[in-house]
């Protein structure tokens, strides 16, 4: 059962390799993502289990992440057929490119599923590095100068970042073996967390810094964030949705697991300080580059850096309320950002450019698309009823309650700057009058593209009102991430 979320997308990739991308197989990706989501829900209900000779293990935290992967993959795969059809119409993608798109996206989903299901830090590392290589070809999909440049920077910076994490892994293994664990147990999450008290603090400190910076590079956190705006703006829109909506969170999931070990071995203060510095730096970078941003896909990419910074801040605060909010934020951001990237792909295809000025007055020309995009931006800026409002409120409240107001206050100021920057660009894109000479009625070409947008926005809004059946899973996941009894404060988040 545990192996199904990995096997399903791999099987779909195999079918794409054999049959290529055509009218029938184009929906295969959505089918496999839907299956993955269903299995994730079943796994969440079944509780803990392991498979593949103990290499894979599922608990509440990994089941929750698997659900996030399933949801975002479903949205992205529902949008893919329409996106590729429009790409083919403009001569950007032939049948061969479409086939490799099918293969690589499915392998990419399988690698992310492997990452969150890994029983050990070692397997997790291998899977995360595999996502870099698989997505490199998706980023460079258009083979233009810009796409090639983005892909090159992406592979080099992420591989170097993740190499730091590998060195951190080696150090953890060294400390664990000297704490009396066997070589295999030395990287296993459960035995590491269980024996964290015996790890040598000097070595563990170096290891934690390397692991947070290394996985932070993949999670789009400063200081190794430079690849993100290039890669996310050049990748095909559904792939951007996957990379921004869920790959970043999968990398952050690794940091959450490392933090559990670090908090026992070194005390909560060490990882907290590290994460606060990284979080505030990421927010500052995002704020500085969102002001006056002229490219809407890059704007969305910098907004991802902002949200990962917020998530890191929540993890730094580290109590039950904060981590509940962090996990909810991961899902809410996944939904909102997928909607926006899928929408931005449509806008880019209709306008032929990703510049804010080229799509002025979208509201008049394509009201449906503009409404969806506008609502998505409101969700992203943390307005109710969308779930990002609830989770941001949770993080801020938890921060002040934990006496970390000195870290939360500058974050709030930076968020206000970001609201101003994004709001200004959104106003120019959606309102106002269209420049003359641009075709009207872009909505006509968008038939069918609306489904994932509406589904994503509705899901994000519903989550903002009620957690529904997700609540028990979220509570168990928080227990694992805080490595302690859950704080009753979770009830107060809502």
């Amino acid at each position: 059962m545990v192996i199904v979320p990995v096997a399903l997308p791999l099987a779909a990739a195999g079918l794409y390799a054999v049959f290529g991308w055509n009218r029938v197989t184009e929906w295969l990706g959505a089918l496999s993502a839907g299956g993955l989501l269903a299995v994730a829900v079943l796994l969440a209900r079944a509780g803990e289990g392991s498979g593949l000779w103990g290499l894979l293990r599922v608990d509440a935290l990994s089941a929750y992440m698997l659900i996030v992967i399933g949801v975002v993959a479903l949205l992205a795969m529902l949008a893919s057929p329409g996106y590729l059809r429009a790409e083919a119409a403009t001569g950007h993608a032939g049948p061969r490119a479409a086939r490799s798109y099918g293969i690589f996206t499915q392998c990419f989903v399988a690698a992310m599923a492997t990452a969150v299901l890994s029983a050990s830090l070692g397997m997790l590392w291998v899977a995360v590095e595999a996502t870099t290589i698989l997505t490199a070809f998706l980023v460079g999909y258009r083979r233009t100068r810009k796409a090639t440049e983005a892909a090159w920077k992406y592979v080099v910076i992420c591989s170097v970042g993740i190499a730091l994490a590998l060195l951190g892994l080696v150090m953890v293994h060294y400390a664990a073996v000297h704490a009396g664990l066997s070589s295999r147990e030395g990287l296993d999450w459960v035995s590491l967390a269980g024996h964290a008290g015996g790890l040598d603090p000097g070595v563990t400190r170096i290891a934690v810094v390397l692991l947070v910076l290394g996985f932070g590079a993949k999670a789009g956190l400063a200081p190794l964030h430079a690849w993100l705006p290039d890669a996310h703006s050049q990748a095909p829109a559904p792939v951007s949705a996957l990379m921004s909506g869920v790959l970043l969170s999968v990398a952050f999931y690794a940091i959450l697991r490392v933090k559990v070990v670090s908090d026992v071995a070194l005390g909560a203060g060490f990882c907290r300080m590290l994460l606060i510095v990284v979080a505030l730096a990421s927010l500052a970078v995002a704020a500085a580059l969102l002001i006056g941003q002229r490219d809407f896909k890059r704007m969305l990419a910098y907004s991802s850096i902002e949200h990962m910074g917020l998530i890191a801040l929540g993890a730094a605060i580290g109590n039950g309320l904060a981590l509940g909010a962090v996990l909810l934020h991961i899902l809410g951001h996944g939904l909102g950002k997928s909607v926006l990237f899928i929408g931005s792909g449509r806008i880019q295809q209709a306008a032929g450019s990703s510049s804010v000025d080229a799509v002025r007055g979208l509201g008049g020309r394509a009201p449906g698309l503009a409404t969806a995009f506008g609502l998505g931006l409101l969700a992203l800026l943390g307005l109710p009823p969308f779930s990002l409002f609830a989770s941001e409120l949770g993080i801020v409240r938890a921060g002040f309650a934990a006496g970390l107001g000195w870290a939360v206050a500058p974050a709030l100021v930076l968020m206000l700057v970001i609201v101003a920057g994004v709001g200004r660009a959104a106003g120019r894109m959606l309102l106002g009058t269209a420049p003359p000479g641009l075709a009207d009625g872009s909505d006509g070409r968008l038939r069918g593209a609306g489904v994932p947008l509406v589904v994503g926005l509705v899901a994000c809004a519903v989550l903002g009102v009620t957690l529904g059946p997700l609540r028990p899973l979220l509570e168990s996941a928080v227990t694992i991430a805080t490595a302690g009894p859950p704080l009753s404060a979770m009830g107060g988040a809502r």
Binding site: L55, S120, G122, M123, W125, V126, E129, A130, T132, I133, A136, F137, G140, R143, T144, R145, K146, T148, E149, A150, A151, W152, K153, V155, V156, S159, V160, A163, L166, L167, L169, V170, M171, H173, Y174, A175, V177, H178, S183, R184, G186, L187, D200, G202, V203, R205, I206, P229, D230, S233, Q234, L289, Q293, R298
Partner: protein, 219 residues
């Protein structure tokens, strides 16, 4: 293997490992850099095999041979193919001169020794005392990565870092679990293949592999 022989063999392998890493900074001829990288792969394989012989661990010795094969034969072969596809035999003028680079290496070495103090203190054996060497090569690799201008030099920089991490793994313990080591090796191989494909595309799109030409994307 007796202890004095083991220590000497280990130090010899580590010395060769460090020397080949530093020499990469000295040469500007790309073919020579690939050759040096291959030699470093041999030193790394020997280092692991010496550890295996000392621990009387057959699996570790065989792993040393495998790692040596991957890093001394397979990866250099791939890079030579990428080099032959283009007509740029030499590194363009690097951003930092060779003399300055070697001075920086001295600083990096001291940094590596300072950082690895806690690592040596945990278990001061002949092997862990060589960990600073691995960290020096890691920093040298990073330095190559940020100061060189050819795509292939960046790949070598990345691989130097990876060699260094593998060396650190086998110096601190007898290596990470086999399944992880295999996964890491596969990932590295695939990363180099991916970068090779991207180099070909770069040549088609930009007419060369000078990374200073990558200036299309900025804010």
């Amino acid at each position: 293997m007796t202890d004095p022989v083991y220590v000497q063999a280990l130090d010899l392998a580590c010395g060769a490992f460090l020397l080949t890493g530093v020499l990469v900074l000295w040469r500007r001829d790309l073919a020579a850099i690939i050759w040096l990288f291959g030699l470093q792969g041999v030193a790394l394989g020997a280092l692991i095999a010496v550890r295996g012989l000392h621990e009387a661990d057959v699996e570790l010795t065989v792993l040393g041979l495998g790692v040596g094969l991957l890093r001394a034969v397979l990866l250099p072969c791939l890079m030579r193919r990428a080099l032959a596809a283009g007509d740029e035999g030499r590194e363009a003028r690097p951003h930092v001169s060779v003399a300055a680079s070697l001075l920086v290496t001295a600083v990096l070495t001291m940094l590596a020794y300072a950082v690895s103090q806690p690592l040596v203190r945990l278990a001061p054996t002949p092997a862990t005392q060589a960990v600073p060497i691995a960290l020096t090569v890691l920093l040298v690799g990073f330095f190559v990565l940020v100061t060189r201008r050819r795509a292939l030099s960046q790949v070598v920089g990345f691989l130097l870092m990876d060699n260094a991490i593998t060396a650190a793994a086998f110096l601190t313990t007898t290596g990470v679990p086999l399944v992880v080591e295999l996964g890491v090796s596969l990932d590295v191989l695939l990363a180099v293949l991916a970068l090779q494909v991207l180099t070909t595309r770069m040549r088609a799109a930009f007419g060369g592999t000078d990374l200073d030409e990558l200036r299309e994307l900025h804010d």
